[in-house]
């Protein structure tokens, strides 16, 4: 990295907003995925203009850039695969406008997801997308990855809640797309940029829709002695046209780990549980809860508990949302996968995951959004053991390939990033890549922005900015 670039960044942002020492940079070489890649410099802009100037400097020095929020992503989307400058949005964390009348909030990308809800809940509103990491992940990261969460089953993922964006393109140009009230004349550019994984532009301001809190909510915990029964329950809830606000499944083995950690009162001897939430008007909730309970019992639920109050409900959700942490106690590391299948195919998918786990001798937990077919198998492994590391990757590829075979997709909410880009040909043809590449190049012609993501490098998709050494998997310790 040229010393003059560092000097120019220091004079642009002040040295307190620039990191260049190795001991600082190592903190930014990983995210929630199994990958690693170290940036050469980390900078903290405070304004959109800062971002634009940083980007222009990077262009001048021909250095790649990657944007980052809190680094909770699970596909390596916020890793500097090409080295270069990492733009961390943590200090662009202001809520710029709350328009409660129109149920909109305008926020900077570094605002933490849950903080939007905290700012508006006094008015009976909230921000619907709720990834498990919502206490720490940022809205900018949510936009980049089109993040989901348990309650996106009924309310949709991030893109369904974004109406306008301010963007900085790789040449430093600042562009606003969409409109506050939505449905702006022209192409749905917000729909394109949300979920583009930071490969088209850096997002510097986001206008989000706020959702009104439901009048009533019921949370049911259904306990099953067979995983198949739980799977069939989910399929039948969908088939009966009941749309719960959330429908989560946790297998019995994982549940024991959670119970050890959270003490939420989960049974230790079940095969699987479903955590199902219904929301809406009181009358609708009563009817839906009764219907859900009926389906559970038809499929041999051993017990169906209904949370009596908010405290019980919160405890059940705490168990679900801290599940990854609970599993962290059992192995040196875990690898959270993210595949999607048609909802009716849950039973065979879970059987296959179990077979693949046996084949590679891994314990694989399952905690996932069953209602929309979004699987999260969690492979427990030791990344310091090269054989285990390789097997974890192989198991992941087999599971995801099977998802595609069942008519599903490679990722439901974590993104492709540098984790699954080589699997993309399972779903897309050369013509599909060619068009996606043209759209990419229309915004990011030199691949200076977040190189080495989404597109398979093996396809020769013109990625010249990826460092050889960054591709190598290194142990996460």
């Amino acid at each position: 990295m040229p010393a003059s670039l560092l000097r120019e960044l220091n004079s642009l942002l002040g040295s307190s907003n620039v990191l260049d020492k190795i001991e600082d940079l190592v903190l930014y070489e990983y995210d929630g995925s199994v990958e690693k890649a170290r940036p050469d410099l980390v900078v903290f802009p405070h304004t959109t203009e800062d971002v634009s100037r940083i980007v222009k400097l990077a262009a001048k020095y021909n250095v790649p850039i990657v944007g980052r929020g809190s680094g909770t992503g699970l596909s390596g989307g916020a890793l500097a695969r090409g080295g270069g400058i990492m733009i961390v949005f943590a200090r662009m964390n202001r809520i710029l406008e709350l328009d409660l009348e129109n149920a909109r909030a305008v926020v900077q990308p570094g605002v933490v997801n849950l903080d939007i809800t905290r700012a508006v809940e006094h008015a009976g509103l909230y921000f619907a997308p709720d990834p498990s990491s919502q206490k720490s992940c940022t809205i900018g990261g949510n936009v980049a990855e089109n993040a989901g969460g348990p309650h996106t089953l009924a309310y949709g993922v991030t893109v369904n809640h974004v109406t306008a964006l301010e963007l900085v393109l790789p040449d430093g140009e600042i562009v606003r797309v969409g409109s506050k009230h939505g449905d702006a004349p022209g192409y749905d550019l917000c729909g394109l940029f949300v979920g583009s994984e930071g490969t088209l532009a850096l997002v510097t301001e986001i206008t989000v829709k706020l959702t009104r809190k439901a009048e009533a909510v019921k949370t049911l915990l259904a306990i099953f002695d067979a995983v198949d029964d739980a799977s069939r329950t989910v399929a039948e809830i969908t088939a009966r046209g009941i749309t719960p606000a959330a429908c989560e499944m946790v297998d019995g083995w994982t549940l024991c780990a959670i119970e050890d950690y959270i003490h939420a009162g989960f049974p230790r001897d079940s095969a699987a549980i479903l955590l199902i939430e219904v929301e809406g008007l009181r009358e609708a909730v009563e009817a839906q809860a009764a219907a859900v309970e009926d389906v559970c019992r038809t499929h041999h639920a051993r017990e169906v508990r209904i949370a009596k109050d908010d405290r019980e409900r919160d405890l059940l959700w705490k168990g679900r949302k801290n599940a990854f942490g609970a599993l962290g106690r059992l192995a040196p590391s875990n690898y959270v996968l993210d595949g999607v299948i048609p909802r009716s195919k849950l039973p065979q998918a879970l059987q296959k995951i179990s077979q693949i786990g046996k084949k590679y001798d891994f314990a694989i937990g399952n905690i996932f959004h069953a209602g929309d077919g979004n699987l999260h198998p969690i492979v427990l492994y030791d990344p310091r053991d090269p054989l285990q590391f390789g097997n974890a990757i192989a198991a992941s590829h087999e599971i995801l390939s099977y998802c595609v075979e069942l008519g599903g997709a490679l990722t439901g909410e974590h993104g492709v990033g540098m984790e699954k880009n080589e699997l993309m040909p399972l779903l897309f043809s050369d013509a599909d890549f060619d068009l996606m590449r043209r759209v990419h190049d229309a915004c990011n012609p030199d691949s200076s922005l977040n190189p080495g993501k989404i597109f398979p490098l093996s396809k020769g998709c013109g990625e010249i900015r990826v460092r050889k050494q960054a591709k190598a998997h290194s142990a996460k310790v």
Binding site: V159, P185, G186, Y187, E283, A409
Partner: protein
């Protein structure tokens, strides 16, 4: 005529004579704002559509894809129009998995026929769009026209989960998939919504389907002025009641709706008072939810000092819902000159709505207004003849409408206007800041600019 015959015969050599039409009378049926194509092609498969596109690229010809042609007046007339690509020959359901609530359907499938198939499994697609009896599924998506169910079910971007299409290089491409949650690759299918065929030829669309509600209900409340009607509407929004639709009609609009209703029923039309502002709310759900919502609405109407209110009978609700769904269609033909605007305005701004009416009055034009779900306003100005003074009056008022929308942090589009007005007024409103980005997207999809050139925003 020579060029026409020549083009048709060259096309025949690609797809065979049975797919090509060049008869003058039929060509005129495909006219867009008076522009007549030189040939009509009816492909029977996505591959055939791609062959036509490749032919057009080689011959530097412009293509406009269409379905039932019910909304071809949206946008500007194309700058060039050589081939009308009639997609109604692609009309199969490729997949329908009721258990997964997912659907994959060919572009030319009529919405009505699709609705019948889905209803057999107790499901539906919440695309309650105008010209519903004739529209094709891809036409509904490409037009981007409003659905009257958006308040409850969202817009197409919320339930379109994937697409297959021919890009401007003649390649068959796809994006998304057939699962309800998916972030694999760029969401290119979202760009097709409302693109008026300027990016690609849609060949197949994948949707999330929904379960038909057990029952539905409608509630109508009338007010002597706009302010009271707006206050009632605001109270409804704040109550958080889950409504399927919520619309406010100006007195002139009430009169037009009455007239439209009379064509199918006598039940409600007589009771709609054309001196009042009316607010219609509808809901869908189970047998307990719908009456509960009606009770709450009744209470809110009373608090807002409504002049009158009533729970609609099921049949009156169906009729009124149908008339509202079709509003875009019938509003176009209510007068010799109709300028129909669609505006996005912030909620709770009766001042802006009064301002719209004022613009029409100042130009001595009749107008009618409906504030639709999510704050979208359909504002229509009428003139009785196509003489120049009437056109000038509408042109002047139109400039004010666009300015008013911009001043309210909203936006406006002229959805329908006679060609004479379109040649004077940019139907897409003032230049948008993101036009450059849209041009980049257009060029990525259609580098030769063969798809409906000139119909879209900023001359795209």
């Amino acid at each position: 005529m020579n060029a026409t015959a020549n083009l048709a015969s060259r096309l025949e050599s690609v797809l065979g004579a049975h797919r090509i039409i060049a008869a003058e009378a039929e060509l005129r049926e495909y006219a867009i704002d008076g522009m007549v194509p030189n040939a009509i092609v009816r492909p029977a498969s996505a591959q055939e559509a791609a062959e036509v596109v490749r032919f057009a690229i080689a011959e530097k010809l412009a293509i406009v894809a269409s379905g039932s042609r019910s909304k071809l007046d949206l946008g500007m007339p194309p700058a060039r129009y050589d081939i009308a690509l009639d997609m109604t020959g692609l009309h199969e359901i490729a997949h329908f998995d009721p258990g997964d609530l997912t659907l994959s359907v060919d572009a030319g499938m009529p919405l009505r026929q699709l609705a019948n198939v889905l209803a057999e499994k107790g499901q539906f697609l919440p695309l309650a769009v105008p010209c519903h009896e004739t529209s094709t599924v891809a036409g509904a998506i490409a037009s981007g026209i409003d659905s009257t169910l958006r308040k409850q079910y969202g817009t197409a971007r919320d339930f379109l989960i994937g697409a297959e299409f021919v890009d401007g290089n003649g390649a068959l491409c796809k994006s998304g998939g057939r699962v309800v949650k998916n972030v694999t690759g760029y969401d290119l299918h979202k760009l097709l919504i409302g693109s008026l065929g300027t990016l690609a030829v849609i060949t197949r669309l994948n949707f999330r389907t929904f379960t038909l509600p057990q029952t539905h209900g409608g509630y109508l409340a009338c007010f002597s002025n706009l302010e009271d009607a707006s206050a009632y509407r605001d109270a409804i929004e704040k109550s958080g009641l889950p409504l399927a639709n919520l619309e406010t009609f100006s007195p002139e609009m009430v009169a037009l709706i009455s007239a439209a209703l009379r064509e199918t029923t006598t039940e409600l039309a007589g009771r709609l008072d054309p001196a009042k502002w009316c607010v219609y709310a509808s809901s869908e759900g189970n047998e307990a939810v719908v009456p509960r919502i009606a009770r709450d609405l009744q209470k809110l109407a009373k608090e807002a000092a409504a002049d009158g209110s009533e729970v609609l009978s099921a049949s009156a609700d169906v009729h009124l819902g149908g008339v509202l769904r079709e509003a875009f269609d019938w509003l176009r033909w209510t007068s010799p000159i109709v300028a129909l605007f669609r505006l996005a305005l912030p909620q709770g701004t009766p001042g802006a709505l009064a301002g719209l009416q004022g613009e029409a009055q100042e130009s001595s034009l009749r107008s009618a207004m409906v504030v639709r779900a999510a704050g979208f306003v359909y504002f229509t100005m009428f003139a009785e003849s196509e003489d120049d003074s009437a056109l000038r009056a509408i042109e002047k008022a139109a400039a004010h409408v666009f300015a008013l929308a911009a001043a309210s942090q909203g936006h406006a589009t002229l959805l329908h206007a006679p060609l004479k007005l379109k040649s004077r007024v940019n139907v897409w409103g003032p230049k948008r800041a993101d036009l450059g980005m849209m041009q980049r997207v257009k060029h990525s999809f259609d580098p030769q600019n063969i798809f409906a050139p000139g119909r879209f925003v900023g001359g795209i």
